[in-house]
């Protein structure tokens, strides 16, 4: 089975390490991800705030491209690692079906640009693919490096399990916890796994955005976590890059290392720091992650 892959803008910029580690890990599992040719920005939350129809049209172009590039397969699976892209693409697919006028209008708009979409693309988060298609047993068979029960807080963020996806619970998702356990880490029990990091608020209203991330990291640290695994480039950016300013602002000593769940996988698989983009982190790594 071939997986098409939609990186999104962040995975080519601040979230490069997510792409690097994800491709490395899927490669190690012999499941190559093929990048969707000529994909465009999903529109994110910003486009939706300006013009809803244009936001839908942007997302629909990607879905139409994916369907066309799916090489005649009836079911095309599009793997979308960024939580925001994942939500926007799913929302567009959903609204095209749920609201007849949206579906009709988008079909006409796509036609004007020489595109067509029939709704055959399955939009999947890589975490969903790993846990439910590949399976934890198979994944733990690839573990070569012991994580030594590294205490991990699995952080899902908001837009992965809410409001459209069905692969995990909306209030207390467990896939990433189970994955961490299968890799040899020790997931900690903590209640904030789907609480919002504030998204772009760190850039727009910094004191509010930083506070939200401070709450997340503080609670994780209180529960003994040394590492927080993330699944979204924006969450990762906020939790990692604002840790310094948060420690100054709140006179705290928070030292929880946020890394992508795919990086944790890669370390357990024995892949090098460079392959996994761990050298790009602005926060020091705990010993167990050093290979």
């Amino acid at each position: 089975m071939k997986y098409l892959y939609y990186p999104g803008c962040s995975l080519k910029g601040t979230g490069r390490a997510y792409e690097e580690s994800l491709l490395a890990v899927f490669g190690a599992l012999h499941l190559p991800l093929q990048e969707l040719d000529d994909w465009n920005c999903c529109g994110a939350t910003a486009y939706m705030a300006v013009d809803e129809m244009k936001a839908f049209a942007l997302a629909a172009r990607n879905l139409a491209l994916a369907e066309a590039q799916g090489s005649g397969n009836d079911d095309v699976t599009l793997v979308v690692p960024c939580n925001a892209c994942y939500l926007v693409l799913m929302k567009t697919q959903r609204y095209m079906q749920e609201y007849a006028e949206v579906g009709k209008k988008l079909t006409r708009i796509l036609e004007a640009a020489g595109l067509h979409y029939e709704g055959k693309v399955a939009i999947r988060h890589p975490l969903d693919v790993l846990v439910n298609d590949i399976g934890l047993e198979h994944i733990s068979g690839h573990v070569k490096h012991s994580l030594g029960d590294l205490p991990v807080a699995a952080y899902y963020g908001c837009q992965m399990v809410r409001p459209y996806s069905t692969f995990d619970d909306q209030h207390n998702p467990m896939s990433m916890d189970r994955l961490a356990k299968a890799l040899g880490a020790a997931p900690v029990d903590w209640p904030l796994k789907t609480r919002c990091c504030g998204g772009a608020l760190t850039g727009t209203i910094e004191n509010v955005g930083v506070r939200l991330n401070y709450i997340l990291l503080k609670e994780a640290q209180k529960r003994g976590a040394q590492v927080m695994t993330t699944a979204c480039p924006l969450c990762q950016f906020n939790l990692e890059c604002y840790q310094g300013s948060m420690n100054r602002q709140y006179e705290e000593r928070i030292h929880v290392t946020p890394i992508y769940f795919s990086q944790l996988m890669g370390v357990a698989f024995g892949l090098s720091q460079h392959t996994l983009g761990l050298h790009r982190s602005l926060v020091p790594m705990p010993q167990q992650l050093a290979i």
Binding site: C9, G13, T14, R108, A112, C158, P163, C196
Partner: protein, 206 residues
């Protein structure tokens, strides 16, 4: 002196906009705005309601009653980070996040968002970049947002920018798709469809 400082705090019904709620409710996703029972679960679950001038519950009540100006000028809609917590929790299945989006779109269209408030500036800069290139280049997006909202803050963020550049996470090369004309055709088709419905499109083009 004393009398000059006194202002009327309550609106007359004639000052409200009787069509506002209907207009918002006609946006896809906002259809069951009128079934709100004012239980406040949205405000309780919202991680940002403690910063808002009106809580989400109040925004819904005010929208329904036609307090158009107050709602569109509120900070609330620009504090919403679209985490969908309220949408999932709402017992009447109102897609509150979509209502917030509809209000943001309307505030931008009517140009009534709070001045120099960076969130709408970011949204518009993002919009422009994608219109032109099909993708957004994070580095330039951030630079343009700071320039247009708070240039001083950009200097404060210099170290973070340097660290991101040092670790290869902040390229200055503009990202772009190949088929830019195809994308323009697509977005222009949206404008035509919207014009047909007598809605003024944003059409933010340079």
């Amino acid at each position: 002196m004393f009398q000059q400082g006194i202002q009327r705090r309550i609106k007359y019904q004639a000052e409200l906009d009787g069509n506002f709620a209907k207009e918002i409710a006609s946006t896809p996703g906002c259809d069951n705005l009128f079934s709100c029972i004012q239980c406040g679960k949205c405000s309780g679950t919202c991680p940002l309601s403690i910063y808002m001038d009106f809580t989400p519950r109040r925004v819904i009540a005010m929208t329904r009653a036609g307090f158009k100006e107050d709602v569109l000028r509120s900070q609330t809609i620009w504090l919403c980070a679209s985490c969908y917590s309220c949408t999932v929790e709402c017992p009447k299945e109102i897609k509150i996040t979509d209502v917030m989006y509809a209000l943001k779109q309307r505030a931008i269209k009517d140009k009534v968002y709070p001045k120099r408030f960076p969130t709408p500036v970011l949204a518009r800069e993002f919009f422009r970049s994608v219109w032109k290139y099909g993708r957004n280049t994070e580095s330039w997006l951030i630079v343009r947002m700071y320039l247009k909202s708070n240039p001083f803050k950009m200097i404060m963020q210099g170290l973070l920018g340097f660290n991101l550049w040092r670790t290869g996470r902040m390229g200055l090369k503009t990202e772009s798709i190949k088929d830019r004309t195809g994308l323009q055709r697509l977005l222009e088709a949206v404008e035509r469809a919207e014009q047909k419905e007598n809605r003024t499109p944003m059409g933010e083009r340079e």
